[in-house]
Symmetry: C2
Subunit: 313 residues, 2 copies
Amino acid sequence: MSVTIEDIRQAAARIKPHIHRTPVLTNESLNQQVGAQVYLKCENFQKVGAFKFRGACNAVFSLTDEEAQRGVVTHSSGNHAQALALAARMRGIPAYIVMPSNAPQVKKNAVAAYGGQITFCEPTLEARESTMESIRLDTGATVVHPYNDERVIAGQGTAALELLEDVPDLDVILAPVGGGGLLSGTSIAATETKRGIRVIAGEPEMADDAFRSMQAGEIIPSVDPKTVADGLLTSLGTLTFPIIRERVEQIVTVSEAGIITAMKYVWERAKIIIEPSAAVPLGVLWEKKIKLNGLRIGVILSGGNVDLEKLPW
Amino acid sequence: MSVTIEDIRQAAARIKPHIHRTPVLTNESLNQQVGAQVYLKCENFQKVGAFKFRGACNAVFSLTDEEAQRGVVTHSSGNHAQALALAARMRGIPAYIVMPSNAPQVKKNAVAAYGGQITFCEPTLEARESTMESIRLDTGATVVHPYNDERVIAGQGTAALELLEDVPDLDVILAPVGGGGLLSGTSIAATETKRGIRVIAGEPEMADDAFRSMQAGEIIPSVDPKTVADGLLTSLGTLTFPIIRERVEQIVTVSEAGIITAMKYVWERAKIIIEPSAAVPLGVLWEKKIKLNGLRIGVILSGGNVDLEKLPW
């Protein structure tokens, strides 16, 4: 049973007291640059600096009291780890976070600052999963996967729901795709709310597993991809792929240069900080592989977590 | 005759169709960091990326049709030049901008992009003023000074007016001070709108002419100051000083390190781009030379024009 629009509406009500309702910004220079009316849904202003807080929050607050008291567990070195730690702290329950020992210190610190209980492991997928499983068995904690989880997908869909409340007459919604949690939730929220709306994803050329999976009609995982959009390295999941295949019009790949150009433009003109992954759907507008001229386009800016000491230009 | 609250209200009505009503943002981490409730008035999202557009716009749209058709003229290498060029273009009149020949190319390009007609001169104040005067005599254009102009002061005051509409129960408003256009307009808008509100300015230690002028009771110009807050190099004017002396509680100086720390914190946590000058009043909260704990504090973030290739950290 897949995620429904009703699940997303319930998620929106459930997480409303805990999240930021993020603003939708517009920018005249940007509109002129890309030849369309662009509405930026600013999840870079969300708690923990990324949309990930929505899904984690929905998962944590969906638990029964009995489940909740045993805590939640995940393995992640990214925004999901921080998001789950903060959501768990808000509910007053433990969050067990498995991180590879070579994760950047700044990420370890951030998870710890949100109260996450970190267990380090070898930096392999096998070690991460076996460490997580052993914590789950010890504690009875509920596993919350970063994207292949219906509660997470429903939570991520709430950003598009808000966007369409604020700007109902969009022609297109653009979102980035990594594991597909945001994209699948967005596609359900959009297509069930507004007849005829088009949902299009941007994906880095250098991590184009979703593009290739759509072509092949089956999940083709990416193998050790390298891209500046480090939030989009993961591959589609068994829950997200069927939703995306059914509801997303197409996936458009974006070059590394296109990502960086779009990112820098938004910093310079819109004066907001977005991370490279958030610039990927904007790169679709820059590179013009598909024609979107003159349309009203909502863009989910996925996050704003950037190392200011290492900018990509 | 000084600027009145009525002048500021009229300016607000006059410029309303042309400006952005900028949002007021809050950030929980920032509040915890500084121990106060902080309301950020985001003039970094204003047209041309700075509050300067308000004053320039009010000046341009205050002109009679007869005056307007002869255009406006100023000398500036900064945000005021861009602001005046854009305001003039909106009214469909010429803007003559005198710039020193050594101004950064990016600033020359920006003024030209807004339709300003640039005349280059030697990089001395004398050359700038004499070049401007000769253009004025040739064209009959109206001079619009960056801050020592009542129409400009009234326009700058509209930011505080909006801030107090959105957050009426502020205890304090903090603004930066350079030439004093923003600070004098802010102080009139605030003290005439809300009894007992405190207006406090932040000024770079390295360009502390306003601080020293307040101590001395007369204008003491700064001599070739050097600070990362390059929007605050100018000295108080004959119109702005008396207003500031009457209505501003005190001017607090901020170290270069304090400016940069506050700026980077806002980039990292609030995910918005502010220029060093905008971080100066935040630096007041960081360095805690004066006690503002627990208060509700509005901060005018003056702008967001930063060279992303040359960040100060």
